[in-house]
Symmetry: C2
Subunit: 397 residues, 2 copies
């Protein structure tokens, strides 16, 4: 066991993976759907039987951000931390579906598995928040409805709580944004994950819902080890909460956030922005939309024509929350960009500067979301590559 451990990364030793190699191996034989190059799996219209339509049914969870929310709630009594998790799970999901251009006629459901020894009457607050998020989207003219929820009391399975959601959409095949159209010569526009979008109630740290297992353990102090319900007992003790911060400490370089507030900052939905752009710009000019979730800034590598090199020569400045995580974790900048969004959780790939400027303007003028050209697509002799200008220099993935 010890011999093996020496070869494993800190990530693997915590039982997580930003790239999910084993899962991809396990699912490689599964059907890829109608548009194998699209961001989500697209099925024929099983729901309606129309040859010109297609369906998506897409699951996602908030991951271990739930464990952190539980910890923050337990130590502060602030129920808002719990309420944010179903919304995080839903945003991670609808934003995936938005990447294929589905911004209307959305149904969502929610499954909460809880340890009822730890989460009792608070369940009401948790259940309700997803429905409220759907109502907010409807204010922004996105027809999204909460269909149904399941709450399982399964303390034998779950340490605190785990929230999953599914999103169902039916759309016209001709409206699908198929990222396989991304080709050399295209321009990559990034949309900031920080600041305060018009539909947000507060400043966003930029964190999203990826990489939270490591961020949590690297950031928080050993003081929190006593909350044994928040981590796996199989994990080596030296990997558990080995940071230097308390949840109420201020975030260095942006003292408007506490550590808890920065790490639990609600994942931004870009859906209203995607909708506005798709209403203003013909879909044929949007070659690809990428949600920089699992895989962080390297996610785009899986998409586009084979033989693309994605050169991100003008990344956003690193947000304070990621600087803090890098500083405490000593992760290389290379790894940071593989795990976190590092400042922009959405990218659109477009054919020219005219379109790039049009969509930047919509983001900034109508959504208060900072946007800029972060890079370009070049010809690559071989499998797709990503090159990122990181604070420690150029990294190739």
């Amino acid at each position: 066991m010890h011999k093996k451990r020496q070869k494993l990364s800190t990530y693997e030793r915590r039982g997580v993976s930003s790239q999910k190699e084993d899962v991809h191996k396990a699912t490689s034989s599964l059907d890829k759907g109608l548009f194998p190059g699209a961001f989500c799996k697209i099925l024929p219209d099983v729901l309606g039987g129309s040859p010109s339509h297609c369906n998506i049914l897409h699951p996602d969870t908030a991951g271990t951000k739930a464990s952190l929310a539980y910890l923050a709630w337990r130590t502060t009594g602030n129920l808002g931390h719990l309420r944010g998790i179903p919304v995080d799970a839903l945003v991670m999901n609808v934003d995936d579906v938005g990447c294929v251009g589905a911004v209307q006629g959305i149904l969502v459901d929610q499954t909460i598995s809880r340890n009822s020894f730890q989460i009792k009457d608070e369940i009401k607050e948790i259940i309700e928040s997803a429905e409220q998020f759907c109502a907010m989207l409807r204010v922004w003219r996105i027809n999204c409805h909460f269909a149904s929820g399941e709450t399982a009391s399964v303390p034998d399975l779950v340490r605190t709580f785990d929230v999953g959601t599914s999103v169902a959409v039916r759309m016209k095949r001709k409206d699908v944004i198929d990222a396989s159209r991304v080709v050399p010569g295209d321009i990559i526009v990034g949309f900031s994950s920080t600041g305060q979008a018009r539909w947000e109630a507060e400043q966003n740290s930029g964190i999203g819902s990826n990489g939270l297992t490591n961020a949590r353990h690297e950031t928080l102090a050993p003081f929190y080890r006593k909350f044994t319900q928040t981590y796996a007992p199989e994990m080596s003790r030296d990997l558990v909460y080995r940071g230097k911060y308390r949840l109420e400490d201020r975030l260095p370089e942006d003292r408007s956030f506490t550590i808890a507030g920065a790490l639990l900052s609600p994942t931004r939905t870009y859906l209203p922005l995607i909708k506005m752009i798709l209403e203003a710009v013909p879909r044929r000019y949007i070659h690809g939309i990428i949600h920089c979730s699992g895989g962080g800034q390297t996610k785009i590598r899986k998409f586009g024509r084979s033989g693309n090199r994605y050169v991100k020569y003008r990344p956003f400045p690193v947000p304070a929350v990621f600087k803090m995580i890098q500083e405490v974790s000593k992760l290389s900048w290379r790894e940071m960009y593989e795990v976190f969004n590092m400042g922009w959780r959405l990218e659109m790939v477009v054919p020219d500067m005219k379109v790039a400027n049009d969509i930047r303007k919509i983001a900034m003028d109508e959504c208060d979301i900072s946007a800029k050209v972060v890079g370009a697509v070049e010809e690559e002799d071989g499998p797709n590559q990503v090159i990122i200008e990181t604070p420690s220099g150029q990294e190739k993935y």
Copy 2:
């Protein structure tokens, strides 16, 4: 704490509930959909925009049956135990949706949250089984397709693994079976949960996926306490695995099953049967279809016109697996019928004996599923009641 405990049932002390009072309280303010009396929540056609259609998006999980499957796999090496869980989660779900008459154009997805310290390469087998189940349904002419899957490695959240599924359907509003049509004078037909349906590979014990937390702890011997990853550490030690059996022991009264085989027996899907019946009998003659899941044989109380008394005077004989659970747990028969299906996990409520005989015949002749009239609907002066003839006499709920 001790004072409070004396008032709590064994169920509550294990953090589970067959009636989910707190969850129902939490969701009581949520919108009930187009047909508030239907078995599943029915929404307007958000997916298609047609006024004559409606949508369902319905989540469910396999619950703590996963914990037992993990234990059986760890102690025997038989991967089949793990493979069964996604199918259980899916069956619990599609059978719910079948109860409103949705038997075509079904999309399903799957979310697996796993502790990657405990479940490693076995994930491949687990992921694949749901897709194989959909293929089986297609053989039975049910157009069910696996849309997408998410596998999260979250050891900080999950002790072993937890499997959730969602089912999406779009159907004509006029085809919805709305159980509010159930009225006094109707007849209740039960469909056996035991035996071997034509689409099953082996004999079914009848267990389903409800009540497994208690069944597991009451049945299995303290020997299994060393598998601490299979139960909540918050649970009082005297409630953990306090039965007398090993997994490989034979089931008393039906030695063709081991204890593991009986408790993990795949949840039967009734979907092919429901489809055959709805093809043979006009829908107006099927007043209600009830999936006896959470709440067991009292589930029907939530459905039908208000002021119904459901008298189940001719229950099925108690299957061997439930006799064993009752014997080790000392649960009253009253409670057994509130938790488990006790022999029939599906009921149809029909207006007369002619229809009752027609649907019985389809079950027996075309599906090899035993079926019979189990009771009738009478007039009740007040809220709905259920009366069941149990082995210890008549019980009123």
